[in-house]
Symmetry: C2
Subunit: 300 residues, 2 copies
């Protein structure tokens, strides 16, 4: 595994590996952009990339422009040495670790904005967040020029927003969404889980539990409408004392259109996503469940 | 010359030409994005591209999202057959002529915005114009993936804005600015010149004449400050009855920072641009003169 820290090195490392010598055949590049402090969720993305691509590039960059004032940019957990070990173990070929100065040598005047999809969910709670995400991901795409890019479905809105950007701007990359990875007890993996106290960690299980129970409830015909699903989730979450709801939203996916409370889940023509953001102390956790159209129809 | 009309055809045509067979050496692609109705200004860009690149791509697309309401999107002059003949004559390899549906198969939710540089000059007169330009040029860059892209200095602000975008987003292309091409009598070439009546055409010469005289005046030490230069230009332009000034601006280039009236031209550390936008009837013409730092110093 090669570790590179600036853009020229990265481009040169890719150029020399991309072309299979003699054959003229171009190898496929799989890219996993992360903010580091890697966990099994990231590892699953690297494995998907390893399986689907000839060359695997992992980037680690805590991107200041996607954090709002008062958010955890400064304190976001970092551990380069451990991250490099994980990347090596998962067969990453090129690990790109730029500094803020490498990514933003001058204050950036250029922003990419995806409207519509970004004004709900985390976009509403974190104004400007997704402009920072789309801008940095476009920069990384322009540096790596990958064939495939792998993102976890825990950040479902991020997947929807990036897919929209890639389509709208004709970026020549295939976005590959990968399933949420959970601890054995159900907690969705997140680098921010380290912030949780033991008690918060225990109570945070309510997120995955509520989603799982909602899924069962839908399959068993115990709830039929958007409003019933939302109420069920809200009731579940507020049953634990430390949970403070940021949002509980039922939307179409990937278009993220809001749904009326009285709409029946089986009348909706698109996939549906139930998305949660909940504070435990100062730590904001997200989780979600996607109800695929076929699934809703077969269960209800 | 191959004419292609959709994105897959374009990518395929480029892929097959880019690799020199057997050698593994990648050919350089030069790109000239235009709105068509080609004139000698465009031809000079194609010649620069021909000289500097192995493969020359020309695009013709009248981009609706860079026109404001009430502007001339519908009436913008178009002549595909003549344009194709010009492109063929200038040695273009691939002519890309997409429809609006090819460029925007769904309403675009993604906009690229370069702040700071776009709120003056044409950006102030034409709100949203440069968001449309940067967005469509990024799309075209993602389709063509050129090594070089050629733009005329008549749209000096466009050159500055696109250079900023390319730097900020790490787009792997070199922007090549090319000199303004003029008629024998000095009028800067523009597809919009066809809108002018004979009388307007005659009076529009005031733009290039005022810039030329200003240049002489500076060399001869007849004006020293930003304010004097601006007044000289305004007096020249308003001396013809049909001219209606949109703006006369003296700014740094390429950072497009405003300058105080009392600033001495020879004290300014950057290149300076004098930029004009003037209506003749309904037709808005632009022209400009760049005073390179070395030039100002040597003359004053």
């Amino acid at each position: 595994m090669m570790i590179v820290r600036d853009v020229q090195q990265l481009r040169a490392a890719l150029a020399s590996r991309r072309r299979a010598p003699g054959t003229g055949i171009e190898k496929k590049v799989g890219f996993v952009p992360t903010m580091g402090y890697l966990h099994e969720g990231h590892a699953s993305l690297m494995r998907a990339a390893r399986e689907q691509s000839d060359i695997v590039v992992l980037s680690i960059f805590v991107n200041p422009i996607q954090f709002g004032p008062g958010e955890d940019f400064e304190s976001y957990p970092r551990d380069e040495e451990r991250d490099a070990a994980v990347a090596r173990r998962e067969g990453v070929d090129i690990l790109f670790i730029p500094t803020v100065e490498v990514m933003y040598p001058q204050p950036t005047r250029t922003k990419i904005r995806v409207s519509g999809l970004t004004d709900r969910l985390c976009g509403a709670s974190r104004p400007g967040h997704f402009d920072g995400v789309t801008t940095v991901v476009a920069k990384l795409f322009n540096m790596v020029q990958p064939d495939y890019a792998f993102f976890g479905m825990k950040d479902a809105q991020q997947v929807a927003v990036l897919q929209q950007m890639v389509t709208d701007l004709n970026i020549n990359v295939q976005i590959v969404p990968c399933p949420i990875v959970r601890e054995h007890d159900g907690l969705a993996l997140s680098s921010r889980n380290v912030y949780l106290s033991e008690e918060e960690r225990e109570q945070a299980l309510v997120l995955s539990r509520s989603l799982r129970e909602a899924h069962e409830g839908i399959s068993q015909g115990q709830m039929a409408t958007v409003g019933e699903l939302r109420s069920f989730l809200e009731a579940g979450i507020t049953s634990v004392p430390l949970a403070r709801i940021d949002y509980v939203e039922i939307l179409t996916f990937p278009s993220l259109q809001p749904l009326k409370a009285e709409e029946r889940l089986d009348d909706i023509k698109e996939d549906v996503i139930a998305a949660l953001a909940v504070f435990f102390g100062k730590t904001r956790l997200i989780d979600n469940m996607r109800l695929e159209k076929a699934e809703v129809l077969s269960h209800v």
